[in-house]
Symmetry: C2
């Protein structure tokens, strides 16, 4: 499979004989397995998926590019036995960011000193950050679904409806349009609660003259979308309208900064500068965006001093926001793909200020 | 707060001066914070929640038993600075099962050798395994919600409906009844797919003469329920009816084995023996159950050789199942609380064999 091949070509940079893949989205990306328990050992010419007996049938159906090993006495032990059987003292790459200290201790015991562990340098995450055409097609679908869901939800955003009821409407809309589920817990936060950048929906009812932040995403054939819109119930004050305009302008500036060859940090700075000119930068308390794919947060991060160079085929969120205690929050978020000509929007729901 | 007090009384057994809590459900349990980024440092007479600026308002609203520290340059660095300021070389407990190797490396760098790390022996998880009365009330509600949702869904389980549509119905039912969301991705697996113990719902339509496994859970005020029912579409063969009877009998045997003072392994063996007598034990490919609470899987595990002694106030799932390739799977799962008189069911949806 092409992805395993691309991964193997990074073995030499790691000076590794094999790579132990433990992060589940990485496993799914490389071999198709979508179960909740697995380890993938990629060697020079073979790959083996270790999982447990709950996944016997599913692994057979999903995985063709790797052998399947159903571990009877724990995955780490089975992997250890395999690694001990390699010739000499193999150098094996592993992910220090997904293996816990306890798992590493168990792995060390299982291999009995026969392995030299090396950091994997996030090689799989880096491969995943540039999407192939099959992935882009799925991400376009996931973005389409969430854009449609939002349009259909607009009628329901009115005083007297609870945040939870709106979240439920969004989530059932995703399923109706063929999504497997939501890519994260839907955020619906109204009034002062909208200043919580990550407010869970509650039984609070929407009221007139409130901001409402809706942050939602669909999963389609494994791939995530992630889109935020902020609306106002009734006629907004000039202050609120001004804030919205500044956030939208910051988003446009960030999108305009996106092109292959640019550092991620430049995109963040483009958004931050607009808000700084409006004296709002201190209310912009998070980074401008993040990569998106099989996971809702993946490489690259679009933060202040991020050096990662953008490449064609990366998919990013662009989501500046301001959060003012007492007044509320405003965030506008789209998913874009990096093309030779710059950022192209995948999410398409209306971005203009909506007073409902 | 009582929970922090109970935790501190375990410091002496750990011979620790402080405990760094990193697992988010543990943090929520101890101080109420429900955000997605946080570290809680519990010392002899103070506790400090470290989080980032996205959670400034939320932390203020949720947390009263700990000081709040909004970290500007990363949580690990802020915690490291605090630990370096302790007198002498402090012994600090941490969780090797939730801290990754990379986080541990960063922590080590941040404390600059001024700390002796000791394993925390899962002290918080152990505290959490025995529920207090507030927790039991919430878990009863979460179990009620999922039982009601299943009853309301029964009418929709019929040929021609897709697995995804059924899952969506279940999930919106949870929200309608006031749940914050589902405690895991709802499983609806029909026909041969029901033999996948953890089958994600697909666009496959339900057909006559198929088994349908529905595994679903609600979250209510943070607490999870988890319930599985298996139904048949049309009239089942004697074989299928016999299999269902055996699984139900196994579940009853496991429930009957539950009482304070019994080892968890005995409960597992009670279920397994029934299936063994019916020559079905090789199709029972997972353990009999698990603890349930703020997480859908927590202590204790109800597995074959589990030595944990059951205590009054523990909440467990009891979920034997058989999975036969080609034919399908049958699982029956309830949530029970351990009382002085034995297991008391929290989930109440019908358990008899339903031919719809």
């Amino acid at each position: 499979m092409a992805r395993l091949g691309r991964l193997r070509s990074s073995f030499s940079a790691l000076r590794a004989d094999a790579l132990l893949v433990s992060h589940l989205p990485n496993i799914r990306y490389l071999c198709g397995f979508s179960g909740s328990t697995g380890l993938l050992l990629v060697e020079g010419s073979t790959a083996t998926l270790f999982t447990d007996s709950r996944y016997t049938f599913q692994a057979k159906e999903e995985v063709s590019v790797a052998r399947i090993h159903i571990a009877k006495h724990g995955l780490l032990r089975a992997v250890g036995e395999r690694l001990r059987s390699l010739r000499g003292r193999a150098r094996v790459g592993y992910s220090a960011t997904s293996v816990t200290v306890a798992q590493k201790t168990a792995l060390d015991a299982a291999v009995g000193g026969r392995v030299r562990w090396v950091g994997d340098g996030s090689v799989v995450e880096k491969l995943r950050s540039v999407k192939d055409s099959q992935e882009l097609a799925r991400m376009r679908e996931a973005a389409d679904v969430i854009s449609q869901v939002f349009r259909r939800t607009l009628d329901s955003i009115r005083p007297g409806v609870s945040e939870l009821a709106l979240a439920s409407r969004i989530e059932s809309g995703i399923k109706q349009l063929g999504g497997e589920g939501q890519s994260f817990e839907t955020i619906v936060a109204s009034g002062p609660r909208s200043a919580w950048a990550h407010g869970r929906p509650t039984s609070k009812l929407l009221r007139k003259r409130e901001l409402v932040v809706l942050d939602q995403g669909a999963i389609l054939r494994g791939y995530c979308s992630d889109m935020t819109r902020t609306v106002f119930l009734g006629r907004a004050t000039d202050r609120v309208r001004g804030l919205y305009g500044a956030v939208l302008e910051a988003q446009q500036a960030a999108k305009a900064a996106i092109r292959p060859g640019v550092a991620a940090g430049e995109v963040d700075r483009a958004a931050r500068q607009v808000l700084k000119r409006a004296h709002l930068d201190r209310y912009f308390t998070h980074s401008t965006g993040h990569g998106l794919g099989l996971e809702v947060h993946e490489m690259p991060r679009i933060g202040r001093s991020e050096a990662t160079i953008l490449q064609e085929g990366m998919v990013l969120t662009v989501e500046p926001g301001v959060y003012i205690e007492g007044l509320g929050g405003i965030r506008i978020e789209d998913d874009v793909v990096v093309t030779a000509k710059g950022a192209v929007d995948l999410t398409t729901a209306p971005r203009e200020f909506l007073e409902l």
